[in-house]
Amino acid sequence: MADKELDRAVAGEYNLGFEIDIEEDRVPPGLNEDVIRFISKKKEEPEWMTELRLKAYRKWTQMEEPHWGHLHYDPIDYQAISYYAAPKKGPESLDEVDPKILEAYEKLGIPLEEQKQLAGVKVAVDAVVDSVSVKTTYRKELEKHGIIFCSISEAIRDYPELVQKYMFSVVPMNDNFFAALNSAVFTDGTFVYIPKGVRCPMELSTYFRINAMNTGQFERTLIVADEGSYVSYNEGCSAPMRDENQLHAAVVELIALEGAEIKYSTIQNWYPGDEEGKGGIYNFVTKRGLCEKDAKISWTQVETGSAITWKYPSCILKGDNSVGEFYSVAVTTLAQQADTGTKMIHLGKNTSSTIISKGISAMKGQNTYRGLVKIGSKAEGARNYSECDSLLIGDQCGAHTFPYLESKDAHGQVEHEATTTKISDEQLFYLRQRGIGEEDAVSMIVHGFCKEVFNQLPMEYAVEARALLNLTLEGSVG
């Protein structure tokens, strides 16, 4: 059936100039309109989507890579990247999933089996591996509530009206260079729709990982919470050791309609590269949410991986009384560089936002907080509280803070606090004098520093974040 549709699409629209064999599991490196058509066809997309991709691609070719971040890296050759790779076969059930993939999950301490067994907590997993969704569970239970939780490709095919209405509505396709690239070539990602008044009965989770050589990954996530609904969504990533730089440019759009609440938690653990920064992931992410009246969006992120992180999960507080939150822990060790923060755009009356950012730098890590609080001319009674703290471990690392404030009228109430501290020898000695080993002592101090953010994570996710933080900082002391 799918094949027939595909044949029709091939015959009708794309026969001219189409040079890539659709049977290929992997597209040759390079980016042009043929590659985009190939991806769209591979995904069995309707024509309107193909056209949108091509439009985005044409915009992208007119744009320039931004370089305002406090980041240093070699130029990216976009023609050297392969924009599509599929796993060898598409498994139908858990038993068919590549044992190596399952093993990778095990190594990350987040085995799917364990997730299922978590006492009383059901976690639906839509695992995206190498650009193709290989597994969706618990979908039936979600369907009972009218919740849609599927890959973005399926959503494009099965729920075109929702996708057409909301995709690009918060992050326009030409929003920035990386968002435009993603709009042209995204290969998978997740779609969530929560109907009016429904409280999603379980945490929704997607684990992403990269495992083909030299393949960029471009996820696209779209979450729509209809009026008065609630959803908590967890996104976690990891990637195994590798030598070549990998480009990752995801886009996440959240829409919280009137009275809705979206809680979006991320654990990001892409391969950070070696001590020189060689081989790590380049992570350029655009995440933005729109809040209608009385809605709330809360971003929580724990960023421990990637060689380069460029990421500013933001909230547009359009509706009156809407609330935006950003809780972040960003760790840079080895030669990692992170330029991350948030934008809180206050447009509605009595909107409020909270920013808690914790940056941890060790070894040669460079950590930058960049945040914007913008208060529009109609945002009477707008309030923001920002707290940006940096913790330094050792003396080769760096922390930088760039808070920006734009207020059209002076009617907003904005508070900003920033601290930079070093783990003191006296704190370490105190803990060691009580019999706690040096690494555990550092970990205890670091966890204390991150506490406000970890408290925002769903419980089992917080456990994972703590374990990851320990793993990341292993060997960065002394």
């Binding site: 060691r432 019999g435 706690i436 520093f449 506490k451």
Partner: protein, 251 residues
């Protein structure tokens, strides 16, 4: 007499400056030893040298503890073997829950001793009892370690840790400084409760006030980096009367 700690010809300093200049001191098992001396004599440096503080460099001599030379041991190794220091100025550690910290420390020690770890409930029961005994507010259990604690609360928290950890060799560095009379009494009661005829105490102070509450067996006078006089508790009265100057002249 059985010796808990034997400090032999200890030379130690901070930076280039030598502060302990050939200090000899024997601490007996089950006894309370008080070290008295004027400011700058090296009292705090001695407590740091015994616990392996990062600032203090030992240049000569050695510290034997339970018969082992611990001069070069890591601070946590000494702690696990039962050496406890009640800090003069306990440091604040934001976000680290007091109970969580102490349970980690207690279980690290229990593990070292080959004892089963205490579970959260067992631990909390014990901690709550002691918090009450020491006249601490119950909310101290879940506050961040020493953060925003008053001087008296910090000292009581040190004693709480001591009582939970049940160490063998306890060093109390100026435990009475900044304590009002109620706090001093509570702290002293806690210390006295731990006296069991095996545990040794080294009470470092430059006031004799605390010694009215914790009866010392020996008084050592530390001046200019050496122990210049050792005597029984009667020495306290003499020091009160004549001051350290007279002792220094004798020595």
């Amino acid at each position: 007499m059985s010796v808990m700690m034997d400090i032999q010809n200890l030379h130690a300093g901070i930076g280039e400056k030598e502060i302990l200049k050939g200090l000899n001191l024997q601490i007996e098992e089950g006894k309370v030893h008080a070290i008295m001396g004027p400011n700058g004599a090296g009292k705090s440096t001695l407590s740091k040298a015994i616990t392996g503080h990062y600032e203090v460099k030992v240049t000569d001599g050695k510290i034997l503890y339970k018969g082992q030379d611990i001069t070069d041991w890591e601070p946590e190794e000494r702690a696990l073997e039962g050496i406890f220091l009640s800090f003069q100025n306990p440091v604040e550690i934001p976000g680290v829950n007091n109970a969580y910290f102490l349970r980690t420390a207690v279980n690290a020690r229990r593990k070292h001793l080959g004892l089963p770890e205490l579970n959260a409930a067992e631990f909390l029961r014990k901690m709550k009892e002691l918090v009450k005994e020491l006249g601490m507010k119950p909310e101290m259990i879940n506050r961040s370690l020493n953060v925003g604690f008053s001087g008296g609360e910090k000292k009581r928290n040190e004693i709480l840790q001591m009582m939970m950890l049940e160490p063998d060799m306890i060093i109390l560095d100026e435990i009475d400084s900044g304590l009002d009379i109620d706090a001093l009494r509570a702290v002293s009661e806690g210390i006295n409760k731990l006296k069991d005829g095996k545990r040794s105490f080294l009470v470092i102070t430059h006031y004799s006030r605390i010694l009215d509450y914790i009866q010392p067996d020996y008084i050592h006078v530390l001046m200019d980096g050496r122990i210049v006089k050792t005597a029984g508790p009667e020495l306290v009265a003499e020091l009160e009367e004549k001051g350290y100057g007279a002792i220094g002249a004798e020595g």
